[in-house]
């Protein structure tokens, strides 16, 4: 873990019912800053890299659309899990991403979304 002190920030998302994996990722480089996971979690580096790739592609899309909008979050539903990515700062230039993976059969998506949103809202604009 590159920045263990960042792990403390992930405590609220680790409390989400069905939580599998949470990590903070440097969007610009794809580097994992900190992570927490349950025993059955997917490989953290791969999941983090996927989150960074997703945001890069969406940023490229947003850049080409040039509508002046900013990315708020990404919610993906797999057959067995939710994959949620949110920039921790509402900015045109997301620097740090929060990735949360959760068990689809145990997680209330709306509640999880709210937890993630509240956590990110705690970060300074």
């Amino acid at each position: 873990m590159i920045m263990p002190e960042a792990g403390e920030l992930l405590a609220p998302v680790a409390a989400i019912e069905g939580f599998r994996l949470g990590c903070l990722v440097d969007a610009s480089t794809g580097m994992v800053l900190a992570s927490v996971q349950s025993q059955d979690a997917a490989a953290t580096p791969t999941a983090a890299a996927g989150a960074a790739d997703l945001v890069h592609m969406l940023t490229l899309l947003n850049g080409k659309l040039a509508t002046g909008e900013i990315l708020e979050d990404v919610m993906i539903t797999f057959s067995d899990s939710f994959f949620m990515v949110r920039p921790v700062e509402r900015d045109t230039e997301p620097r740090i991403l929060l990735l949360v993976m959760a068990d689809r059969h145990r997680t209330n998506l709306a509640m999880a979304h709210r937890s993630i949103r509240d956590l990110c809202a705690g970060f300074p604009a």
Partner: protein, 272 residues
Amino acid sequence: MSQISRRARVRQLADSVWPGRTVNGYANLIAARLRKLADEGSTGMLPVSGHGDGAVFFRDGQVVYAESSRTSPPVARARDLAALGLVPGEAPGSAGADGTDAAGTVATRSVSRLGGMLELTELIIDALTELLSSESRYAKFRHAEVIPAGQGRPLAVETLLAEVQRRHEVLRQLAPVVTPDTTVTCESSLGLPSAQVSPAQWALLIRADDGTTPRGLAMQLGRSVFGTTIEVYWLVELGLLAVPGRPPALAGDQAAVMSFIRAVPGGKGSDA
């Protein structure tokens, strides 16, 4: 009769003698040295030379600082952090005894420190990525060498080596389009598309004149060379920067698109 350089000849000989450790494997030798220093719990400085000079500083077997003449110096960023009271080594929320009461308070303080520490850590890892390039070699370790004031949070050698390996793989993916030393120019054609860029990308665009390289831009802005190379790559993809001499047919070639997933070493694993 074929004419080969002395360097190529040395490379061939090394390849034949050490199948698993080619001349390009100097980085492997440095990595082995770093692991040994970590195992010994060393404190001091390992000078590294090659394309550019630099050094890796250890404290109790962990890397606390690294700098290279070919990347932005972390020390200036560290001084900025110190001036703001974001001194490395403090735990999140330790600035005040009451800082842990509300989650929001902790998060606010932590991310301020987190963002600052991320910038410092990024520059240290950036220097290490450069120092562990194929042409680098190390000199004698100097025990108890004074550690610069801009030292960062102690980082485990294995974690750093894994990150450096990942970065080298990303740079290999980017190489067909742009490297840290590729000259890029501002795309000034009349058919320029409208596009939305971030402040960081805008800072690059307004400085991208003839003869600019990602490394030059990074040094100018005090940013990571690795991160800037990726930003430049995306600006090329957006059609806002161009690589002189790059065939236009490649401009829309999505087969070579950069992917962090493909740069993850191995497969299933964890860095936790």
